[in-house]
C-alpha cells in the first residue's frame, strides 16, 4: 500500500503534501461561492477536507520520524525533484537575476509544525461546528478559517523567504478578517471592540512585517536568492570570507528579520495586538495562539536561524526574556478568562524566543516548546471557549465559579492543559520548559545566563500562580454568574479530549538523551540535528534545575490555592500588591503610551502635513499664484474701458511715446555724430 509506505518518494509525497496544502484553499473557494446554499452551510465539507489534510500531515510526520529513527537524512526540496512553480522572473541589470521559483521544503521542523497545524486546525473546525452554531456569518467563518489554515500550511512548506513572506502576509489578512468576525455583526454587543481589535492586530503585525520585508531585501540584495538553502550556504560563505567574523550588515538584516517575529509572535514591544485578538471567536483565538500566527514567528526564527549573527541572537534572547516576565506579571492581574490565556501565550512565546536566541540546543528546546505549547494552549483555549459557551458568553472569571460540577469534561481537560502549561512532571510542558532552562547555560549574552535562569524560574512560578488562580476562580467555589451553566455538546468536548491526550504525551518525543540510562529518547532533537545543527551538543537533563523549577511551580500553585480556594469572586491580590497591581493591571501603560503615539504624535504629524498642504502649498502658493494672475488681469482690464475718448487718448499717448523714442534714437545718434564731428 503506497499510502502506508513511510519511505519518502518525492514524486508521490510532494503531490500529497501539496494536496494537503490546497485542500483548505479549494474548500475556501467552494465555501465562499456556494457555501451558504449547502446543507448545514457547508461546515461538513470543510471539516472533512481538513480531516483529509490532517491525515496527510500526520502521515508526513511519521515519515519523518521513521526516517530519522533509521538515521537517514530527512531534508527534501521539491525543486530537486523538478516540482516548482516559476512565479516571477525578470533579469536585473548587472545585479544578477531575479528569479523566484516556489517549491516545497520538507524537513523535520516543517514536518512537526505541519502536523501540529493539521491536527489543531481540524479540531478547531470540529469544535466550531458546535461553538459557532447560529452565527450570522457561519459559512463565512468556516471559509475564512480554512484559508487561515491554508496560509499557515503554505508558510510551513515554503522553501524560500519570499513565499514564506507571502503566506505570512496572507495570514495577517486572515487574522484581520477573523478577529473582526463580529466587527459588523449587529447581534454582537462588542461590535466596536472587534472593529478596533482587528485593525490594531493588522497594523501592529504589519510593522513587524515591514521589518521582515526590509531584512529580506537586504539578504536578497547581497545574496541574490530567496531560497533558504541558498541563503544558509551564502551566509556560511560570507562569514568565512569575512575571516569568521559576521559582517555588520548581516546583524542589521538579522535584526530586521527578527522584527518580523516580534510582530507576529507578539514579542515586546509589539505584543499589544495579541490580547485584543480575543475579540474574535474563541476557536480563532485557539488557532492564533496555538497553531498559526504566533507559531509562524517562532518558525521564522527556526528557518532563518543560520542567518542570524551572535549579536542578533543576543537581542533575541533579551527581547524574549523581557517578554516572558513582563507578560507573566500582567497575566496575574487579568480577570478575563481568555485574557489570562492570551498573556500566558505571550509569556510562553517569550520563553521560546529567548531559548532560540541561546542557539544550539536552545533552538531545539524553543521549537520543541512551540510544538508542546501548541497542543496544550489549543486545549486551554478551546476549554475557555467551552466555558464561555456554557456560561452564555460570560468571559469575566469573577462571574463564573462552580463549573467543576457542571462541566465535568471541560474541567478535566482544562486541568490537563493547566498541568501541562505549569509544567508538572512528566507531561508536555515539563520537558520542553526544562530544556529551555537548561539551554540558558549556553547563552552568549553579556549579562550571562544566571539572570536568564532566575527569570525563567520566576516566570515558571508566576505561570503556575496565574493558571491556578484562573482554575480556582472559574471552576472552584459556587457559581456566581447569571443563568445555569451547561456542559457543551460532544462535538465540542471531543476535540478537547483529543488535545488533552496530546498534551499529556507530546512531551515524550523530546526527552533529553541519557535521562533514562543510555536510551536514545530525544527524537525531536534527533531530527533537528539532521538539519543544520550538526556538531552542537545535545540537550541533557539538568536535574537540579528541573527540581528547582518544579518546586517553584508548586509554590505558585500553593500560593494560588491559598488565595483563591473557595473564591467568592473577590480577588485579594489588588490589596496585597497595591501600586504594583495598578501598573500590571494597566498593562504597564504601554497600550496607553501607544495610544498616545498614534492619537497625538502620528495624528499630529499628519495634521502638520495637512496644514502644510492646505495653507502653504494650496493656499500659499497655488491659490495666491492664481490670485496674482487674476489681480493682474483685473488691473489690465481697466484699460479696456470701452470709452472711445480713452482709447484715442491712449492711442495718441502711445504714438507720442513711439515718436519720441524714434526721435531720441535718431537725435542721439546724430548728436553723437555731431559731437564726433565737432572734435
Amino acid at each position: 500500500m503506497g499510502f502506508f509506505d513511510l519511505t519518502f518518494e518525492p514524486d508521490r509525497d510532494f503531490r500529497l503534501l501539496l494536496m494537503a496544502l490546497f485542500l483548505p484553499l479549494v474548500g475556501y473557494v467552494i465555501q465562499i461561492s456556494v457555501g451558504r446554499f449547502l446543507p448545514r452551510k457547508g461546515d461538513w465539507l470543510l471539516t472533512t477536507g481538513m480531516g483529509l489534510a490532517m491525515i496527510i500531515t500526520v502521515r508526513g510526520l511519521f515519515q519523518a520520524i521513521s526516517a530519522v529513527s533509521a538515521g537517514e537524512e530527512f531534508f527534501h526540496n521539491s525543486k530537486d525533484a523538478g516540482i516548482g512553480f516559476s512565479w516571477l522572473y525578470s533579469s536585473g541589470v548587472g545585479d544578477g537575476v531575479q528569479n523566484v521559483v516556489a517549491g516545497v521544503l520538507y524537513d523535520p521542523l516543517g514536518a512537526a509544525l505541519f502536523a501540529v497545524v493539521g491536527v489543531v486546525s481540524f479540531l478547531v473546525h470540529l469544535f466550531s461546528t458546535g461553538y459557532m452554531k447560529g452565527d450570522r456569518r457561519y459559512h463565512i467563518f468556516f471559509a475564512n478559517i480554512s484559508l487561515f489554515t491554508f496560509a499557515m500550511l503554505g508558510l510551513v512548506l515554503s522553501d524560500n523567504l519570499l513565499f514564506l513572506f507571502i503566506f505570512w502576509e496572507l495570514m495577517g489578512l486572515m487574522s484581520y478578517l477573523l478577529i473582526g468576525h463580529f466587527s459588523h455583526d449587529p447581534d454582537s454587543h462588542r461590535i466596536n471592540h472587534a472593529a478596533r481589535a482587528c485593525k490594531k492586530a493588522f497594523l501592529t503585525t504589519r510593522v513587524g512585517d515591514v521589518c521582515l520585508f526590509i531584512g529580506m531585501m537586504m539578504f536578497y540584495n547581497e545574496f541574490g536568492t530567496f531560497d533558504f538553502k541558498g541563503l544558509w550556504e551564502a551566509t556560511t560563505n560570507a562569514v568565512a570570507a569575512n575571516g569568521g567574523e559576521w559582517p555588520a550588515w548581516m546583524t542589521v538584516a538579522g535584526l530586521f528579520v527578527f522584527g518580523g517575529t516580534v510582530g507576529k509572535s507578539a514579542q515586546f514591544p509589539l505584543h499589544i495586538w495579541l490580547p485584543d485578538a480575543m475579540e474574535g471567536p474563541t476557536p480563532v483565538s485557539a488557532m492564533i495562539h496555538a497553531a498559526t500566527m504566533v507559531a509562524a514567528g517562532v518558525f521564522l526564527l527556526g528557518r532563518t536561524f543560520p542567518m542570524l549573527s551572535p549579536d542578533v541572537l543576543g537581542v533575541v534572547t533579551a527581547v524574549g526574556a523581557t517578554t516572558a516576565i513582563f507578560a507573566a506579571t500582567i497575566g496575574m492581574t487579568v480577570f478575563d478568562i481568555k485574557g489570562v490565556l492570551a498573556y500566558s501565550t505571550i509569556s510562553q512565546l517569550g520563553f521560546m524566543v529567548a531559548a532560540i536566541g541561546c542557539g544550539g540546543i536552545g533552538l531545539v528546546a524553543g521549537l520543541f516548546h512551540m510544538v508542546t505549547h501548541a497542543c496544550f494552549k489549543a486545549c486551554l483555549f478551546l476549554c475557555a471557549g467551552s466555558v464561555i459557551h456554557g456560561c452564555h458568553h460570560e468571559q469575566d472569571m469573577r462571574n463564573m465559579g462552580g463549573l467543576k460540577a457542571k462541566m465535568r469534561t471541560t474541567y478535566k481537560t482544562w486541568l490537563v492543559g493547566t498541568l501541562a502549561l505549569t509544567a508538572l512532571v512528566p507531561i508536555a510542558g515539563w520537558w520542553s520548559k526544562d530544556e529551555i532552562l537548561g539551554a540558558t547555560r549556553i547563552t552568549n549574552m553579556v549579562w550571562g545566563s544566571e539572570i536568564l535562569l532566575a527569570l525563567g524560574v520566576l516566570v515558571a512560578g508566576m505561570t503556575a500562580f496565574y493558571m491556578w488562580r484562573a482554575t480556582y476562580m472559574t471552576f472552584g467555589g459556587e457559581h456566581r454568574g447569571e443563568g445555569e451553566p451547561h456542559e457543551s455538546p460532544k462535538v465540542m468536548t471531543i476535540p478537547l479530549q483529543v488535545l488533552a491526550v496530546f498534551s499529556i504525551f507530546i512531551g515524550f518525543v523530546g526527552i533529553p538523551d541519557g535521562t533514562f540510562g543510555s536510551a536514545k529518547t530525544n527524537w525531536f532533537e534527533g531530527w533537528l540535528h539532521h538539519w543544520h545543527l550538526k556538531g552542537t551538543p545535545g540537550a541533557e537533563m539538568v536535574w537540579p534545575l528541573a527540581i528547582i523549577a518544579t518546586a517553584v511551580a508548586f509554590a505558585g500553585f500553593f500560593v494560588a490555592r491559598g488565595m483563591y480556594r473557595g473564591s467568592d469572586g473577590k480577588d485579594p491580590l489588588p490589596e496585597k500588591l497595591g501600586g504594583v497591581w495598578k501598573l500590571w493591571n494597566n498593562l504597564y501603560y504601554i497600550d496607553a503610551f501607544y495610544l498616545f503615539l498614534v492619537k497625538r504624535v502620528q495624528q499630529g504629524i499628519a495634521k502638520a502635513c495637512w496644514f502644510f498642504e492646505r495653507w502653504i502649498l494650496i493656499q500659499g502658493v497655488i491659490n495666491n499664484l492664481s490670485q496674482a494672475v487674476r489681480v493682474t488681469g483685473d488691473r489690465l482690464r481697466r484699460v479696456q474701458t470701452g470709452r472711445l475718448g480713452g482709447y484715442v487718448t491712449s492711442f495718441m499717448l502711445g504714438a507720442a511715446i513711439v515718436a519720441l523714442l524714434v526721435l531720441l534714437q535718431v537725435g542721439l545718434l546724430s548728436g553723437g555724430q555731431a559731437s564726433a564731428g565737432g572734435k
Binding site: Y89, S91, E169, H184, C198, K199, I214, I605, W610
Partner: protein
C-alpha cells in the same frame, strides 16, 4: 483590421454615433457606449494574448535564465499602422505599441469598460456625459498608441478638455471640495504641465527634424541638449503624475469628479504622465536621465510619505484615496528613478495594478455616495451589514493597496523596491526604498481606518435602507476589476513578459546613457589629470597648476575686456 486602430476608433466612432441619438434614449446611448468600450477591451485582450515573441525564453532555473537573458533588446513596436497626413510638415498618423504601451492600453480599456457600466447610475444629461467620457478615453488611447509627436500631443489635449466638462457638470461639491475650484485647478495645472512638455517637444522636433517618434528615438541628441531639455519635459509630465509638490490638483480633482471620471482620472490619466516620462524623457535623453533621476528618487519619498500622512488626516473618503493615489505614484516614480530593469518593469506593472485598484475603490465609493450623498467617515458606519458585496470588495481593494500578496500591487511594489534597493546606492535609492516600505504601513493606517469607520461598527439608523449591488450586471464591473487584480497577483508573469518587451530596450538605452555620462565625466577629470601628469613631481605640478590658473585668469580677463 488593425486591432490597435480598432481599439482607438471604437470609442471615437461611438462618440460620433451618440451625437445622433436622441437624448431621451438613455438606454441606446448606454448600449452604444458599452459595446464600443467592449470592442476596445476585446481588442486589447487580443493584442495582449497575441503579443508573443518575448525577448527571452521561459527558464526553469536561474542558470538557464541568465543564459537567455540579455538578448534581443531592439525596440519593436507592434500592431503598427501609418498614414501620411500633411506631407509638407512631415506629419503622419502613426500608431503602434511596445510592451509598456500595450499594458497601458489594456489598463485603459479595462477601466473604461468598467467605468461605462458603473456610470449607468448617472441620470442627468446622459448623452453629453457619454460623449465627454468617450472623447476622453479616445484621447487616452491615442496617447498610449501614438508614434507621432504631433498626434501624441493632440490626443493628450483631447483627454484634458472633456475632463473639465465632466467634473464641472457631473461632479459634486461637498464641504471639503468645491467642484468648480477643483475643475479649474485641475485643468490649469494640467495645461501648464502640457505646455511645458509642449515646449520641450517642439525643441525635440527642432533638433531631430521629424515628428516620427521611432526616428527621433534613433536620433542621438547631444548631451548638452539633453541636459537642457530633460528637466523641462520631465517636469511637464511630472505635473501629471503628479510628483510632489505639483500634486495638489489631483486629490481635489478625484474628490469632486463623478465615479467613472475618478476611475479614469486616477486609473489612467495619472499614468499618462509616468508613461510620458518613460516614453519620451527617459528614452530620448538617457544621458540626462542618469544625472537627474537620482533627485527624482529623493522627491518621490515626499510623494510616498507626505502623501500618505496627508491621507491619514483626511476624513473625506475620496480625498483619502486621492492622496493615497499621489502617494502610490511615488512608487512608480521610484521605480522609474531606479533606472534598473526590474524597477522600471515594476513601475509599469504598478501603473497597471494601481490603476485597476484605485478604479475599483472609486467605483465602490461612487456606489454608496450615490445613495448616502456623504463620504465623510464621521457620517458613515456599519455599512457592511447592508452592503456586504460592496464592503467586501472595498476591503479587498484596501488590502491590495496596502501591498498584500495575492494582488498585482504586491508584485509590482516588490519589484520597484528591489529595483531601488539593488542599485546599492544607499543614499540615493536605499533610503527612498526604506521610506517606500514604510509607506506601506502608512497605507494600512489610513485605509484600515476608513474600512473600520465606514464599514464596521454600528449602523446608523438612516443607512438601514442602503442598496447593495444585487444583479450580476451591477456586480460585473467590480468583479472584473477585482478579478484582474487577483489574476495578475497570482500569475504576474504574462504581464511582466509583455512589459519586459518595452522595458528592456529602454533600460539598455538608459545604461548606455549612464555609461556615456560616466565616460564623459571620467574623461573630464582624467583630462585635468592628463594635463597635470606630464609636469612631473609634486612641486612641478603645483607650479604648472598656478601657471595654468594664471593663464586661465588672464584668458578670462582678456576675453571680458575684448567683449567690452
Amino acid at each position: 483590421m488593425n486591432p490597435l486602430l480598432l481599439c482607438l476608433i471604437a470609442p471615437a466612432a461611438a462618440t460620433l454615433a451618440i451625437f445622433f441619438v436622441d437624448a431621451k434614449e438613455k438606454k441606446t446611448i448606454r448600449v452604444i457606449a458599452t459595446v464600443a468600450t467592449g470592442v476596445s477591451l476585446a481588442m486589447a485582450i487580443l493584442m495582449f494574448i497575441g503579443f508573443g515573441d518575448y525577448s527571452y525564453e521561459h527558464a526553469a532555473t536561474a542558470a538557464e535564465f541568465t543564459a537567455n537573458a540579455g538578448e534581443a533588446d531592439e525596440h519593436v513596436y507592434k500592431y503598427g499602422i501609418a498614414t501620411d497626413w500633411v506631407e509638407e510638415l512631415g506629419l503622419s498618423f502613426r500608431l503602434g505599441v511596445d510592451g509598456m504601451g500595450l499594458a497601458m492600453v489594456l489598463l485603459t480599456s479595462l477601466i473604461i469598460f468598467a467605468g461605462v457600466m458603473v456610470s449607468y447610475t448617472i441620470q442627468s444629461r446622459v448623452k453629453e456625459y457619454y460623449i465627454c467620457l468617450l472623447a476622453l478615453v479616445t484621447g487616452v488611447f491615442g496617447v498610449f498608441a501614438s508614434l507621432d509627436l504631433f498626434f501624441y500631443y493632440f490626443f493628450y489635449e483631447l483627454a484634458v478638455i472633456p475632463m473639465f466638462l465632466l467634473i464641472g457638470i457631473w461632479g459634486s461639491t461637498t464641504k471639503t471640495v468645491d467642484q468648480y475650484y477643483a475643475t479649474m485647478k485641475l485643468v490649469l495645472l494640467l495645461s501648464a504641465g502640457a505646455v511645458m512638455a509642449l515646449i520641450g517637444l517642439i525643441a525635440v522636433y527642432g533638433d531631430a527634424g521629424t515628428f516620427d517618434m521611432v526616428r527621433i528615438e534613433e536620433h542621438g541628441f547631444s548631451s548638452g541638449f539633453q541636459m537642457l531639455w530633460f528637466p523641462v519635459i520631465f517636469l511637464g509630465f511630472a505635473a501629471l503624475v503628479p510628483m510632489w509638490p505639483l500634486h495638489s490638483w489631483s486629490p481635489a480633482g478625484h474628490a469632486s469628479a463623478p465615479a467613472a471620471v475618478s476611475m479614469l482620472h486616477a486609473g489612467v490619466l495619472m499614468k499618462l504622465g509616468a508613461f510620458g516620462i518613460l516614453r519620451i524623457a527617459c528614452l530620448y535623453f538617457p544621458e540626462a536621465a542618469a544625472v537627474y533621476l537620482p533627485y527624482v528618487g529623493i522627491l518621490c519619498c515626499f510623494n510616498i510619505v507626505y502623501g500618505g500622512l496627508v491621507a491619514v488626516s483626511q476624513r473625506d473618503m475620496k480625498l483619502i484615496i486621492g492622496y493615497s493615489s499621489s502617494s502610490h505614484m511615488g512608487y512608480v516614480l521610484l521605480g522609474v528613478a531606479s533606472a534598473s530593469l526590474i524597477g522600471i518593469e515594476g513601475a509599469v506593472f504598478l501603473m497597471f495594478a494601481h490603476g485597476v485598484m484605485t478604479a475599483l475603490t472609486f467605483a465602490l465609493i461612487g456606489w454608496f455616495y450615490d445613495q448616502t450623498h456623504t463620504r465623510m467617515l464621521d457620517d458613515l458606519g456599519g455599512m457592511m451589514k447592508v452592503m456586504p458585496f460592496c464592503g467586501t470588495l472595498f476591503i479587498i481593494a484596501s488590502m491590495a493597496s496596502a501591498g498584500l500578496p495575492g494582488f498585482a500591487n504586491f508584485v509590482s511594489e516588490l519589484m520597484v523596491i528591489i529595483g531601488a534597493w539593488s542599485s546599492r546606492d544607499i543614499l540615493w535609492y536605499g533610503i527612498p526604498a526604506v521610506f517606500a516600505v514604510w509607506g506601506l504601513v502608512i497605507t494600512g493606517v489610513y485605509l484600515l481606518r476608513a474600512v473600520k469607520d465606514a464599514w464596521f461598527g454600528d449602523l446608523p439608523e438612516r443607512w438601514k435602507n442602503l442598496r447593495d449591488q444585487r444583479t450580476l450586471a451591477e456586480k460585473a464591473p467590480y468583479l472584473i476589476l477585482t478579478g484582474v487584480l487577483l489574476l495578475f497577483g497570482f500569475w504576474p508573469q504574462p504581464m511582466l513578459d509583455v512589459v519586459h518587451q518595452g522595458a528592456k530596450p529602454l533600460v539598455v538605452r538608459l545604461d548606455e546613457g549612464r555609461a556615456t555620462h560616466e565616460a564623459a565625466r571620467t574623461a573630464r577629470e582624467g583630462g585635468t589629470k592628463a594635463v597635470q601628469l606630464p609636469a612631473g613631481g609634486a612641486q612641478g605640478t603645483a607650479l604648472a597648476d598656478t601657471a595654468l590658473a594664471g593663464t586661465a585668469l588672464a584668458d578670462t580677463d582678456s576675453t571680458s575686456e575684448g567683449s567690452r
